[in-house]
């Protein structure tokens, strides 16, 4: 989504951490692929993070436009 390709170790490090914090959960495997989905808590946390980022980006853009 951001254009950055994560290494396999980094990706599974993130998956393990998110699952430990109960932000994602595993779905039944599809052939060799293991899908995950956001939990209700994960959805709340993601929404809050995105809102913070959105506010941050808007404030930054306002500052830039005022120059």
């Amino acid at each position: 989504m951001s254009g950055t390709r994560l290494g396999p170790g980094t990706l599974y490090g993130a998956i393990a951490r998110l699952e430990r914090e109960k932000l994602i959960e595993a779905l039944p495997a599809v052939e060799r692929r293991q899908p995950y989905r956001l939990t209700a808590k994960g959805l709340r946390v993601l929404r809050a993070k995105l809102a913070t980022l959105h506010g941050f980006a808007r404030a930054g853009l306002r500052k830039l436009e005022a120059r």
């Binding site: 396999p8 170790g9 599974y12 998956i15 393990a16």
Partner: protein, 310 residues
């Protein structure tokens, strides 16, 4: 990525991690192109997970208390040895004979170290016998190997010190505290740079040996069943250990206060070594480690006392 390399890379992760993610991670890696960056990425994260897993052992309170006692005791030994060599063969030792306050605080540390040794033996020996007996009867060689790590680490360090001592004509022994200075170096000792290099090797061997021993013993405890031990076998020694380490910490702190009052010039003496450290620095280091060991020992005692609820 080929299956053999993948299974070697997945094998670097801790068992708990492999149990949960091993299968899917293996499939994921097999579909991934094999390049140096990817391999290094996986190795780096495997090491990270190994470090994380050290703090995630599923121990009950008694085992946890035992591990905390081990850390506190090792810390107290390291701090005590450093404190002893801060004073031994220096003008500070002479000052102690004429100042009762200094002598008393020094004896507090000595008394505390004796009590700590008694506490360590009280908890350590029965636990060691139980772990060994269970491991041998169940043919758990992994536990026996882990218990063999501390004596092996000590032997390696001692063998190195003996070899280095026999290699120089004055039979000077490279002790770990020689890295901080050489204020009592006789003429026939090896040059400062040689002494510093050799004693640095001893220090590294000692530190690595201590860390690896602590991890190995902790893993041996974790792989053993200590549920049949009476609670008293944990609560009494852990309380005694916490008290004795606290006494040692108090002794070292008051010793510093007295020495600052009665022998300040010797206390602030720079020893001329490569680190150019002072006795004050060395005392500060001992005090800090003693204080940390006290906190850990108290935590160990609290955990043992809380074990009744489990």
């Amino acid at each position: 990525m080929n299956a053999r390399l993948v299974s070697q890379l997945v094998g670097l992760y801790p068992l708990e991690w492999r149990t949960r993610y091993g299968g899917e991670f293996q499939s994921f890696l097999e579909d991934h192109p094999s390049d140096l960056g990817t391999i290094l990425n996986v190795i780096g994260w495997a090491m990270y997970e190994r470090v994380l897993s050290l703090g995630r052992f599923k121990m009950d309170r008694r085992e946890h208390s035992l591990a905390l006692m081990l850390y506190a005791y090792l810390g107290a030994i390291a701090a005590g040895v450093n404190f002893y060599w801060t004073v031994a063969d220096t003008p500070l030792a002479a000052a102690m004979h004429s100042r009762p306050g200094l002598f008393t605080s020094w004896n507090l540390v000595r008394g505390g170290s004796l009590l700590a040794a008694v506490a360590a033996a009280m908890v350590g020996l029965p636990v060691l016998v139980t772990i060994l007996r269970t491991a041998l009867s169940n043919r758990r060689w992994d536990v026996v190997y882990r218990l063999a790590v501390p004596p092996c680490a000590a032997l390696v360090t001692l063998a190195w010190m003996a070899a280095a001592a026999s290699a120089n004509s004055s039979h000077w022994v490279p002790t770990p505290w020689d890295v901080t200075g050489d204020w009592t170096a006789p003429q026939n000792w090896p040059p400062l740079a040689t002494r510093w290099t050799l004693s640095s090797v001893t220090l590294v061997l000692m530190m690595v040996g201590t860390i690896v021993s602590a991890i190995s013993v902790r893993q041996a405890i974790r792989r053993s069943d200590l549920s049949k031990h009476r609670r008293l076998w944990f609560t009494v020694p852990s309380t005694l250990l916490a008290g004795s380490v606290a006494v040692m910490a108090f002794g070292v702190l008051t010793w510093g206060w007295f020495v600052q009052r009665y022998a300040a010039s010797d206390f602030h003496l720079r020893n001329g070594g490569l680190f150019s450290s002072t006795n004050l620095f060395s005392w500060g280091l001992s005090s800090l480690v003693f204080l940390v060991a006290t906190v850990v020992a108290i935590q160990g005692s609290r955990t043992a006392l809380a074990s009744e609820a489990t």
